[in-house]
């Protein structure tokens, strides 16, 4: 980047909010996705919407890529600046602006840490349910751009279900306010939906208003262990078909249980093939009844043990254990590649079985955990990026997992986003016309392709895997 352009960025944000040393550029060259890394030209920390607007105007004029980044916990290479340019940080835009107790909304800047927000609203007797596993460090801006899920998605939905209004800087440097503190609003296209989960490819979000709900009075957690993955999966289906919608219905297989136990040391039984974490909240009577029923269903489906967590503390550590599953798994092998395949709830047992078969077929190590109640599984390949032959088998195994997920009426990603990593598979899910429609939206909003280029839209779609059955 020419120094003249660099200087113009510097004069917008002030020199102390520019990072451009060798070490700094390197530190913003990655996120949490294995095998993706590229240096930005400059890292900027604007302080308000107007500064973002000025930055975008320069990027528009000079055709410089711009990648918004929260805390860099993305799992699909969505925040890696693979085309260089600007990495835009929100560490100076991290304030909670307003808690509106009459409309039950909270308005924040994008850099607010998810857990900080969650604690803040709970101190005020209110509840913000989306709780991605990385919530201790992830930002609300990142959550909105990725439409993050979490452990409470089954009952409470995902981030998009809580976004009421957004302020957006458009790729040509305009400012648009979308939505409002409204229960209803059908004035024109629902542009907010495009932005939520837009992965920073359509503009820069600079302010967010979120819906809050009353904090449930009671919550209780049950835990069940199984001798087979399928018994656990059947339990999930049975709970839902019995018309119980718990807050959390989380699943971990044997490999994951062992890895989590290695880190947490909370006494999980390493010999169990699968475990389910079942949480319900609400008023006391209903919670007690739902938990009782879920435990009974688990026993009926063959659980070796199904009990109520002894205390709030035990329940919290079980949930914490589930949240660290992915990172804990990574202690087993040098490289961890995780997937995010999602199927309709009714197909969860089939999907679990298919993943087991695929692991055997390609002789790769796959551990699975995830939001079983959402049909959202995280099969995680434990491998070594330096072993090309093994990586090749891993890739073929993952291709087949995507393929089966789509066959079962599912999708290639439930909550992690497409980013650059899954872009080659997106057409499998959307088809050619779906891709064309998406591309034409992108082109009309960001004709110069400066907003997080290279994400969502791949140069080439991966060749669809042909599966031979019965050979």
């Amino acid at each position: 980047m020419e120094s003249e352009i660099k200087n113009s960025f510097k004069s917008v944000v002030g020199a102390e909010y520019v990072k451009d040393s060798k070490a700094q550029l390197f530190a913003y060259s990655y996120d949490a996705t294995a095998n993706f890394q590229a240096l930005p030209d400059l890292v900027l920390s604007p302080k308000n919407t107007e500064e973002v607007q000025e930055i975008v105007k320069i990027c528009d004029k000079e055709q410089i890529p711009i990648v918004p980044r929260g805390s860099g916990t993305n799992l699909a290479a969505g925040t890696v600046p693979t085309k260089g340019g600007i990495v835009l940080l929100f560490n100076n835009m991290n304030k909670i602006l307003e808690l509106d107790k009459e409309n039950l909304t909270v308005t924040v800047q994008p850099g607010v840490i998810t857990q900080d927000l969650s604690i803040y609203v709970e101190q005020n007797g209110l509840f913000y349910p989306p709780d991605p596993s990385s919530m201790k460090i992830s930002t609300i801006g990142g959550n909105v751009s990725e439409n993050s899920g979490g452990l409470r998605g089954l009952k409470y939905g995902v981030t998009k279900d809580y976004v009421k209004a957004l302020t957006l800087v458009t790729p040509d440097g305009g400012i648009v306010k979308l939505g409002g503190k409204l229960a209803k609003d059908v004035a024109g296209y629902d542009l907010m939906s495009l932005l939520i989960g837009g992965e920073g490819t359509l503009g820069i979000i600079t302010e967010i208003t979120l819906k809050l709900i009353p904090l449930p009075a009671v919550k209780k957690t049950g835990i069940a262990y199984f001798n087979s993955l399928e018994d656990a999966a059947k339990t999930v289906s049975a709970i839902i078909s019995n018309r119980i919608i718990p807050v959390t219905l989380e699943f971990m297989d044997k490999g994951t249980i062992g890895a989590v136990e290695d880190f947490m040391k909370i006494g999980l039984p390493r010999e169990a093939e699968a475990m389910l974490l079942m949480e319900q909240d609400g008023n006391k009577e209903q919670v007690d009844e739902d938990i009782r029923q879920m435990i009974a269903i688990a026993e009926e489906m063959g659980a070796t043990s199904a009990i109520l967590a002894a205390s709030e503390k035990e329940a919290a550590s079980l949930k914490a254990g589930r949240r660290v599953a992915l990172s804990a798994l990574s202690r087993k092998r040098p490289t961890t590649i995780l997937e995010d395949a999602t199927v309709p709830r009714s197909e969860i047992a089939k999907m679990v079985r298919a993943i087991q078969d695929i692991a055997l077929k390609y002789d790769v190590e796959i551990s699975t955990f995830g939001h079983a109640g959402d049909g959202n599984l995280h099969p995680t390949c434990l491998t070594d990026i330096r072993d090309r032959e093994e990586m090749d088998r891993v890739e073929r195994a993952l291709d087949e997992i995507f393929h089966i997920a789509i066959e079962l009426g599912g999708t290639i990603t439930g909550e992690h986003g497409v980013g650059e990593m899954k872009a080659p598979y997106l057409e499998w899910k959307l088809g050619a016309s779906g891709m064309n429609l998406m591309r034409s939206i992108k082109q009309s909003i960001d004709p110069k392709n400066i907003m997080n280029p290279g994400k969502i839209f791949a140069k080439e779609t991966k060749k669809r895997l042909v599966i031979h059955n019965g050979q």
């Binding site: 040393s21 060798k22 989590v260």
Partner: protein, 437 residues
């Protein structure tokens, strides 16, 4: 063109920093909220564990050119290891940063002054307890002779960086060595006391009280003669070979008798002692002995708890209540996972109400000699620490490590709170509560 320094540096990283440990990091970012420098820099990834690990890897792979900014990223690390308990992937960050410091130390051209200072510190004072004693005698002389008062008055210390001046102001008053208490009959445990070089000299009162209290609890206390500085300071400064030289000497010194415990009262030393086994795992002659040494190592609070001090505290009565709080020693907490024991002792101490300091587990900025090397960052961290202290209004801040103790004293002094708050070592605190009269 790759410069000669770059080549040397890359080679040094390849030789010293283990690839396998680097590969353990999957970059999830769960360490970020635990890292004091990441928070103090308004979330600069360069000053986070994840950032530093990626830079170590980049140095190894030749993906980044060694320059001042890369060096600063490594130098800025406190070495507090708060990232380790936060890391689900089990990355051994402590090993990685120590290996990095060795790599840098070996490849970097040194100025003459730095060479002299290092040689004096690591081969002289911290290698030999007698030399440490001599150095401390100088401090004693300085204090007793009136020179201290004089220099303070004429502002001689203004010539030094502000932090040096603050350090000087809180140096403990050194008392001349007294004859140690004689041995009593063992009732509860045979305990070998690792006295620590600083604790045995600058803080020798605390050591005397440690022995008295252990004996009061019925333990037999033995002080092996040939013991030396634990070697942690060397290890943290890229001089691991010298650290291990001290380790072997200590293992020999403590090997002759059959002790139940090897107790220490300095969190920083204790962590390094407990890792002798890990550091010497490839040393055929020492690995078994080192392992045994580390297994027997225990910190003073844990030993007090084991020897039943809580019951004795509970049995005591006191009317007045004032607030006491606790600042964790990073290495005691993050390496040895000891944080409940000191708190339980404070909770049971008569005459005090224990209140938890917010972010007590986060580094105070002392970090060995970090506050001398990185005064600006250390000052920033200390200021936010003192903000929380002021909210609690304690009369005592209790610590478990000499560095933390001095740092908290500096904090109190900077805030002008010397009349209201005292920073004390946990042994001194308990001694005052129990044995004073």
């Amino acid at each position: 063109m790759v410069s000669e320094l770059q080549q040397r540096m890359q080679k040094s990283f390849q030789e010293n920093v283990s690839e396998e440990y680097l590969m353990d990091c999957m970059r999830c970012g769960f360490c970020l909220p635990a890292c004091p420098t990441y928070l103090a820099t308004n979330q600069d990834e360069t000053h986070s564990p994840r950032g530093r690990i990626s830079l170590m890897k980049a140095m190894r792979d030749g993906d980044v050119v060694w320059d001042g900014s890369v060096e600063e990223a490594f130098d800025m690390c406190l070495g507090c290891r708060a990232c380790e308990p936060a890391c689900p992937a089990g990355v051994q960050y402590g090993v990685l940063i120590e290996e990095t410091r060795v790599a840098v130390q070996q490849a970097k051209p040194q100025g003459r002054l730095e060479k002299t200072v290092r040689k004096t510190a690591f081969d002289g004072i911290f290698a030999d307890q007698k030399k440490m004693a001599t150095a401390v005698k100088l401090v004693q002389f300085y204090q007793r002779s009136g020179l201290q008062a004089a220099t303070r008055k004429i502002g001689f210390l203004n010539l030094f960086p502000p932090f040096m001046k603050e350090m000087e102001g809180v140096l403990p008053k050194v008392e001349s060595k007294r004859k140690r208490a004689s041995l009593k009959k063992p009732q509860t445990a045979r305990v070998a006391f690792f006295t620590g070089c600083l604790m045995d000299t600058l803080f020798q009162n605390t050591n005397r009280k440690t022995i008295e209290m252990l004996e009061w609890l019925g333990a037999e206390v033995i002080l092996p003669k040939e013991q030396q500085c634990c070697g942690a300071l060397h290890g943290h400064s890229g001089e691991m070979d010298k650290g291990l030289r001290n380790a072997r000497a200590n293992i020999d010194a403590f090997d002759s008798d059959d002790f139940d415990y090897i107790v220490n009262n300095a969190g920083g030393c204790g962590a390094f002692l407990s890792e002798y086994g890990k550091h010497l795992q490839n040393d055929k002659r020492y690995m078994k002995k080192a392992e045994r040494f580390s297994r027997k190592t225990i910190d003073i609070s844990s030993l007090f708890v084991k020897l039943g001090m809580n019951l004795r505290l509970k049995a005591m009565e006191a009317e007045e209540k004032s607030i006491v709080t606790y600042q964790d020693s990073c290495h005691l907490r993050n390496v040895n996972q000891v944080f409940l024991e000191p708190r339980s002792l404070l909770e049971d101490a008569p005459g005090f109400e224990y209140k938890e300091l917010k972010d007590a587990g986060s580094c105070c900025g002392s970090a060995g000699i970090y506050n001398l090397l990185q005064p600006e960052m250390a000052g920033k961290i200390l200021t936010s620490k003192m903000k929380e202290v002021k909210k609690l209004q304690p009369t005592k801040i209790v610590t478990s490590n000499p560095g933390c103790l001095m740092q908290m004293q500096i904090g109190i002094q900077k805030e002008g709170l010397e009349q209201e708050i005292q920073a004390v070592h946990i042994v001194d605190f308990l001694y005052d509560v129990i044995l004073k009269d």
